[in-house]
């Protein structure tokens, strides 16, 4: 009995204590409030506030201006050459002999598309299946370890991938499949590995974002796990998965260093998987060293086409996201 009473007394004491403390705090807060009111009335408060505001705005303006200046620069250098060659000829002519004044990036244009599709062709299925395994099937600890490893894959610099390709993949292809080894195939293998993390991470997030209720309902209705994944989770995550593919495509088109190292860079449309090819990005990095005059302008023009290409991909991405939202809303 006594113990209980004592306990109650101490509880009351503590309660009183707490009230006292909060009163003191209130008094203190009241003092600060008064100071703030005074500060607000005077203009003193505004000085740091305004400084910070303007600093933030200046940073934002500088980064946007940088983007604007880069695009203006690329287009002002590149567009006059495209205009004098003709857009059709520039884009689709297969003759790239800049020293003789023949500027046609047709082979590079096709090369970029071909290499990107070839790498997506194997990396998307593999990445998507990996993502499904990580999100749905693997026990959580295994999933976590795999996530770490995938991020590690994303962190390897592209020149290291290129070197790996040059030293391991290219000789393998040369010895077992023939040709010079520097080929579309080597590029597609390396590029595919490089875009895997993008595909895996984004589609895994999309799969995990599907509400658990859907899955539980499906399982409760008697569908198997396999049926639930195929008929319900994948369709519900489809806009996220398409986003992953488009982002991977952007990465693949923009990749340069590794591609230059393993594809052989001949400015032709390859006639087999073992033939060399040149992408638009490789074209720029290969020839910028000695290019002058119109030749240099043609490289800027290649950059401008690449720029427009990536811009269109981004628009497509926005469109998919919006369509995905509408789908989810219905």
């Amino acid at each position: 009995m006594n113990g209980i009473i004592e306990g109650k007394i101490t509880a009351v004491k503590q309660h009183n204590n707490r009230e006292e403390k909060s009163q003191i705090l209130q008094a203190k807060a009241g003092r600060w409030e008064r100071i703030l009111v005074i500060l607000r009335k005077s203009k003193a408060r505004f000085i740091p506030e305004i400084l910070v505001e303007r600093l933030l705005m200046l940073s934002a303006v500088v980064s946007i201006m940088a983007l604007l200046l880069i695009s203006v620069f690329i287009f002002s250098r590149g567009v006059p050459l495209i205009a004098s060659v003709g857009l059709g000829d520039f884009l689709f002519s297969l003759e790239w002999k800049p020293i003789q004044g023949k500027f046609g990036i047709g082979a590079m244009f096709v090369g970029s598309l071909l290499l990107t599709s070839a790498s997506l062709a194997w990396a998307v299925p593999l990445g998507l299946l990996t993502a499904i395994f990580m999100a749905e099937i693997a026990p959580p600890p295994v999933g976590r370890i795999m996530t770490r490893m995938v991020s590690l894959l994303a962190g390897i610099p592209s020149v290291v991938y290129g070197f790996f390709g040059l030293v391991i993949i290219v000789p393998l292809i040369r010895n077992y499949l023939g040709g010079t080894g520097m080929s579309v195939l080597a590029g597609a293998i390396i590029l595919g590995i490089m875009i895997l993390p993008t595909i895996i991470n984004i589609s895994r997030d999309a799969i995990q974002a599907v509400p658990l209720v859907y899955k539980e309902s499906s399982l409760a209705l008697g569908a198997s796990h396999y049926q639930t994944i195929g008929r319900l989770i994948l369709p519900a995550a489809s806009s996220g998965i398409i986003t992953a593919v488009v982002l991977a495509m952007g990465r693949a088109i923009g990749e340069t260093m590794a591609v230059v190292m393993v594809t052989g860079n001949a400015a032709i449309i390859p006639d087999s998987l073992l033939a060399p090819l040149r992408t638009m990005t490789s074209n720029i990095v290969l020839e910028m060293g000695y290019a002058a005059g119109d030749h240099q302008a043609a490289l800027f023009a290649t950059g401008a086409i690449l720029f427009i290409f990536i811009l269109l991909l981004n628009l497509l991405l926005n469109f998919i996201r919006r369509a995905g939202k509408r789908y989810a809303g219905n």
């Binding site: 705005m57 303006v61 020293i99 001949a266 060399p276 000695y290």
Partner: protein, 290 residues
């Protein structure tokens, strides 16, 4: 209130623009600055003033090293070294836009008539290289041309192993490729399916890694990873280049107008031809003319 905000944003955009414009103009003004030629003799023997050297990108790195050395000996002298290519170097020397034009090819006949004084400062040779395991040790110039035209596609046609030839080549615009096209190819187009590498080192690495490959690199870059072939029976070696028996070589030429008398340009060329200048050229990988 809203308009005030707008004004503030506007003023910041303008400020940002101004800052960037400032950076840009200061970066550009360096390129735009006109070459100030002419000698200002301050009454003593010391050279004062600045000259411009423009032209071949193959000569440019050598000129830069030489100019640096010359400037440290003559603190009053400023030498601007620019690229642009051999043709542009010859043009600027004729027009007077540059005090010295640099060329890595012989002058054409109509260019020779323009009243230029040619001074060959060094030689450069291009070696045709293959994998060290390649059975062949010698090729005719004709065969090299046919390989690079795509007419000969297998080593057995030349007496080598039965294996397809991997052709390795430099990119368009490279001075080495330009000289190769001129001397070996007779200006015919190089086979479009040849592999393109954009540096001497990359060509050497590719040839060293592929036992069926053939490539061309500057003689100074040949090492034990690759085998340099005899061309028409002549080994690419410094002596053979000097006596003219190795054909795939080119001169590095400085061009000055015969009419002008520019003390700085003259003494710079004198320095380049001296033992010290020739030593520098040799150390940097060119073949000295002495």
């Amino acid at each position: 209130m809203y308009s005030e905000k707008l004004r503030r944003v506007g003023s910041f955009i303008i400020l940002g623009l101004l800052l960037l414009a400032l950076v840009f103009t200061s970066a550009c003004s360096k390129n735009l600055s006109e070459p100030e030629s002419g000698v200002k003799n301050g009454g003593n023997d010391e050279l004062q003033g600045s000259i411009t050297i423009a032209g071949s990108t193959s000569v440019q790195p050598f000129t830069e090293v030489l100019a640096e050395e010359f400037q440290s000996k003559n603190p009053g002298v400023k030498i601007n070294v620019q690229g642009g290519g051999s043709s542009q170097g010859i043009e600027t020397a004729i027009s007077g836009a540059a005090d010295i034009g640099a060329s890595s090819r012989e002058l054409k006949d109509e260019e020779k008539k323009a009243g230029l004084k040619e001074t060959t400062i060094a030689l450069d040779a291009i070696a045709i290289v293959v994998h060290p395991s390649n059975r062949l040790g010698e090729l005719k110039m004709e065969d090299v041309r046919n390989i690079y035209l795509g007419n000969i596609a297998n080593w057995k046609e030349l007496g080598g192993a039965d294996a397809p030839i991997s052709i390795v080549c430099r990119e368009e615009g490279s001075g080495t490729r330009g000289a190769f096209e001129e001397i070996v190819m007779n200006k015919q187009d190089i086979f479009a399916k040849s592999l393109i590498q954009n540096s001497t080192g990359a060509v050497r690495t590719t040839v060293a890694g592929d036992k069926n490959a053939i490539g061309f690199i500057s003689l100074a870059a040949v090492n034990q990873d690759v085998k340099a072939l005899k061309i028409d029976g002549v080994l690419p070696a410094v002596d053979n280049v000097k006596n003219g028996s190795y054909k795939i070589s080119r001169p590095f030429i400085y061009l000055t107008r015969t009419a002008s008398d520019n003390k700085i340009a003259d003494s710079f060329i004198e320095f380049v031809l001296s033992d010290e200048g020739q030593n520098i050229l040799g150390n940097e990988g060119a073949i000295s003319i002495k």
